[in-house]
């Protein structure tokens, strides 16, 4: 009887401890928009000279932080910091460059000056470092269909967050009520969910992956 109680206690406490320190269930949106930025700030302020690379599990990291690895913090901050370090610092995420243009840059296809529409800039890059800019996805695709050879990267900006995306992994919505500088456009999204939300809200026709897009589709969008 006695051993059974102890066993139960042990079992329960380990269960508890695991749930205490295990990786929390939080939506990606909240992680991206609040937790990571906050964690980054905490990290920069408090974990300056501290080595965070040695941890093999999230639980271990989390425990260490609770143990004042980076000083004393409130519970909310501890969680943000742990998640930030685990997902962002130690995780691998491909971050592409911000698609910036100068006042003189013109769209390779239509010749318009792009600095008035910074959120619509897309870019095609070659191995030798050459890069072409476009004001919108339509112009970019027009160029792409005629020059498929030798391209290393195709970059676009996610509509909702303006983060730079690899176009080949992005989702596009055609036929929405959001117009770009060249009129009808293909609007890029980082994931299917965003694309679908947008399509529903802005009366888009359909969501396409990069490979599903044909030259005819692009032509039907007009000049």
């Amino acid at each position: 009887m006695f051993y059974y109680k102890i066993f139960k206690l042990f079992f329960l406490s380990s269960l508890l401890s695991v749930s205490l320190f295990s990786y929390p269930q939080i939506s990606q949106d909240i992680k991206d928009k609040k937790i990571y930025p906050m964690g980054e700030k905490i990290y920069k302020a408090k974990c300056n000279n501290i080595d965070v690379t040695g941890f093999k599990t999230y639980e271990a990291l989390s425990l260490a932080i609770k143990d004042s690895l980076c000083g004393t913090l409130s519970k909310k901050y501890e969680e943000s910091l742990s998640l930030y370090i685990w997902d962002v610092k130690l995780g691998d995420s491909e971050v592409h460059e911000k698609l910036l243009v100068s006042k003189k840059d013109k769209c390779q296809v239509c010749g318009m000056y792009m600095h008035h529409y910074p959120t619509w800039v897309s870019r095609i890059k070659y191995p030798n470092g050459e890069a072409y800019n476009f004001d919108g996805m339509k112009c970019m695709f027009k160029f792409y269909f005629n020059n498929k050879k030798g391209i290393t990267d195709i970059l676009v900006q996610d509509y909702y967050t303006l983060h730079t995306l690899n176009a080949r992994e992005a989702y596009f919505v055609i036929g929405s009520d959001v117009y770009g500088p060249m009129g009808h456009e293909l609007i890029p999204f980082v994931d299917k969910k965003s694309a679908t939300t947008f399509s529903l809200e802005h009366k888009g026709d359909k969501v396409y992956t990069f490979d599903e897009i044909t030259e005819n589709m692009v032509r039907s969008l007009g000049r």
Binding site: D29, P37, L162, S194
Partner: protein
């Protein structure tokens, strides 16, 4: 003539500076602010609502803010209190820049420091809560003057201190500030938020900008008054010239005609004369305006634009040359003056020389 141009130029410079100031300030406002309401009066909101906002696509960040006003000395002065979380990112750079605020401490602006000192508070201040009890906060640092026009009596403190002073519950906050990455989506998201928070007031930044622009626009209020006055004076001068030359001047033109000057010669000279005078006045006027506005900071004239006179002493006007303004002034003054000089001369010069000299 010179003074007129100077006056006009000064006004234009000041209003330009104001506009750019306001633009800077407005840029530090969040795209959208959600303020809860009860019976259409502003009230507090639960800070967990922020997660609802964050789940909307297009929202790049959302922050639960704690801020409000505090009456000092029986309402003689109002302090603006901004609470903040050290590791949150706000749209107002002032809240992000400040370094760590110790527990039960605060950062105050110079105006607040002065006011407190007048009441013999030098190191700390006792905030009085609604139930009469006191919350003491130590002054950790005095803030350097920045460019805010409206709120100079400013105190920054930790969120929990602010919550104590305002007597908020643990989860109560003043409002939610929302930032949207792609500005095209702002209106759309504002609409979504109105549905998500049916009892709240959703304010969008652009509306604010339009409001401020209207005040400092050429077409409005104070500015128009000055404009009209200067213009009016200007036209009186012009009218005086155009309504005819005095007898001395007519005689002179007659003499010139008698000496063999043709009408064209007379007009030519008058033209150069007019051009010289108006150009010199114009340049002098602009230079004077420059010195008055940028070097001396436009005493007195500022008062027409800014309400709070105490602010005026410190407000440094940003250097801002706008060629459109300069061109406008030029075309308003120079050609008109020249015309006013030349036309009456033309009228006189075409008379018979002899008649004029009689």
């Amino acid at each position: 003539m010179t003074l007129l141009v100077a006056l006009l130029a000064s006004t234009l410079f000041i209003s330009n500076a104001m506009k750019s100031e306001y633009n800077t300030i407005i840029n530090s406002y969040p795209d959208i602010v959600i303020t809860n309401q009860k019976a259409l009066r502003d009230t507090t909101i639960n800070e967990d609502e922020v997660y609802k906002v964050l789940s909307i696509k297009g929202v790049s960040s959302a922050v639960a803010r704690v801020w409000g006003h505090y009456y000092f000395l029986n309402g003689d002065e109002k302090f603006l209190i901004l609470g903040r979380d050290e590791f949150e990112t706000y749209s107002n750079p002032l809240l992000n820049a400040s370094s760590n605020i110790a527990k039960d401490s605060m950062l105050v602006s110079k105006e607040v420091k002065k006011s407190l000192q007048k009441s013999y508070y030098t190191e700390y201040f006792n905030f009085i809560k609604a139930d009469g009890s006191i919350k003491r906060l130590t002054i950790q640092k005095t803030l350097e003057r920045s460019n805010f026009l409206e709120n100079s009596a400013l105190i920054i403190m930790n969120n929990d201190s602010a919550k104590e002073i305002f007597e908020y519950d643990d989860h109560e906050v003043t409002d939610l500030s929302v930032s949207v990455a792609n500005k095209i989506e702002v209106a759309f998201i504002a609409a979504k938020l109105k549905i998500l928070f049916p009892s709240a007031r959703v304010s969008v930044k652009d509306d604010l900008r339009v409001m401020y622009e209207n005040i400092y626009n050429l077409r409005s209020g104070f500015f128009l008054t000055i404009f009209i006055i200067t213009f009016f004076t200007f036209f009186i001068i012009i009218y005086d010239k155009v309504s005819g030359l005095n007898s001395e001047q007519r005689r002179e033109i007659g003499i010139l005609k008698a000496l063999g000057w043709r009408v064209g010669d007379v007009l030519n000279t008058r033209f150069y004369e007019g051009a010289m005078i108006s150009l010199v006045s114009y340049i002098l006027g602009i230079v004077l305006a420059f010195i008055y506005v940028y070097y001396f900071n436009a005493p007195y004239l500022k008062g027409i634009f800014l309400n709070n006179y105490d602010l005026l002493k410190d407000f440094r006007i940003v250097f801002n040359i706008d060629f459109e303004t300069l061109a406008l002034l030029f075309f308003l003054s120079v050609p008109i003056y020249i015309a006013a000089t030349v036309i009456p001369s033309w009228r006189v010069a075409t008379l018979e020389a002899d008649e004029v000299m009689r």
